[in-house]
Symmetry: C2
Subunit: 252 residues, 2 copies
């Protein structure tokens, strides 16, 4: 779920928070969770992330069928399996803090299934671009949020966002395809824009529905976020997306 060169801004945000943690970021889970709204927000976050991993597992396993060679198929199956292990870590953590994993995931099923239904890739390259774009955006977002979490939750969130190898695999394959046939680039650039639009629209749906999570994002409980800051966060994520697409040979 990592991307090679995108995360400079997000990483900088995370770094500065790591250097001088204050408020919730300076607390461990036991201390921070004493505040029920914060606890609810973290259960939401872990539930969303867990179902995201399970949905990513399914998507990658499905895309493996489109693979042109056995080696490509094996590579996608490997990524799917890595997502599944993240899923296990996240549901394990939910159980550990006394939350029922299924209940925690349930509120995010509709949005994530909706996203995947609206953006079913029609071929192998669209699948690769989707894996790359989707994971990169998710990764940027969670890295931004991680900086505002208690130390224990932050550690888990950053661990499951570790590179599963999608990025370099997808980038290499997509670049080779564009080199072989430049017209492919135009089609995939349109596709990447559609993915970004659909991701934003589903995110808004989640933000509108989930009070605790949204409150945390706009600075109600976890410190450091206000509405202007949320706007800046979305700008950073969109900018990172644009840079990634350019690096891939696609105008975003």
């Amino acid at each position: 779920m990592e991307t090679p060169d995108n995360a400079t801004d997000a990483a900088a945000a995370a770094d500065s928070a790591t250097e001088a943690p204050t408020g919730i970021a300076a607390q461990d889970w036991a201390t921070a969770a004493a505040e029920p709204t914060y606890r609810a927000a973290v259960v939401d976050l872990l539930g969303a992330l867990a179902y995201g991993e399970l949905a990513a597992f399914e998507r990658l396993a499905e895309d493996a069928k489109l693979a042109p060679t056995l080696a490509d198929k094996a590579e996608l199956a490997k990524m799917a399996s890595a997502e599944f292990h993240h899923f296990e870590q996240l549901t394990g953590r939910l159980a550990e803090i006394g939350a029922e994993p299924t209940e925690a995931m349930e509120p995010f099923v509709a949005a994530l299934d909706g996203f995947h239904r609206q953006t079913a890739p029609s071929d192998w390259l669209e699948g690769l671009v989707k894996a790359y774009v989707g994971d990169s955006i998710a990764s940027d977002f969670y890295r931004e949020v991680a900086a505002r979490l208690d130390s224990d939750t932050r550690e888990l969130v950053l661990a499951v966002l570790d590179d599963t190898g999608h990025a370099s695999f997808a980038v290499e394959k997509v670049r080779a395809a564009i080199e072989a046939d430049p017209r492919v680039g135009g089609r995939l650039a349109l596709w990447a824009r559609r993915l970004m639009g659909e991701a934003l629209s589903q995110s808004q749906r989640v933000v509108a529905d989930r009070d605790a999570l949204s409150t945390m994002l706009v600075g109600g409980v976890a410190d450091g976020f206000d509405l202007a800051e949320v706007g800046r966060m979305f700008s950073r994520i969109t900018e990172a997306h644009t840079k990634r697409m350019a690096a891939l040979g696609l105008a975003a």
Copy 2:
């Protein structure tokens, strides 16, 4: 140990081989592989097993979509991930002995894809019965063959056949469904018969195509197998299938 009399079932065959290994079963890989036909047969076997695991991964990931609950979906994803790790062990071993994993798997793609295409489950219960029947038959077969392999290959083959938890999960769910609606039993019994028929027909296709593997099975290189013994082996496997179906509440 290769006298037919004491090979009453797969377990006995495997046990007696472990107790007093002779011929190839008493050798390690380095010694046994000096014979090129044996080496080719093992590459075939590992290739078939590896692609079987990759295909099982895909099938389980696909069936996860039919799961009635999030918990069931997670359970199937877990099994799929376990199959993938077996796939990694097998392709790792192929690479270790100097065989190209993709080339080793290629000859078995058509038969295994054909089996899965002919037996796409139409609902969640058919998927569970298929996972259970398919894995049990494959497991019986490989256990029979394992007794005739060199010690290093035998160890690997038995390790990847370890229970991934399919059996108890499937048995529990299928039993509960039949209890709730006994008519389900008749439908699933027919389905299990179709699976067995299709598995046998695809196995024959493989046996007819792959000289080295077939020669090993009928006693050309690895000792202990002759045509009559192969017949008995298929009887044992079919008998074990019948017992399993009865235990599941299905007349086979």
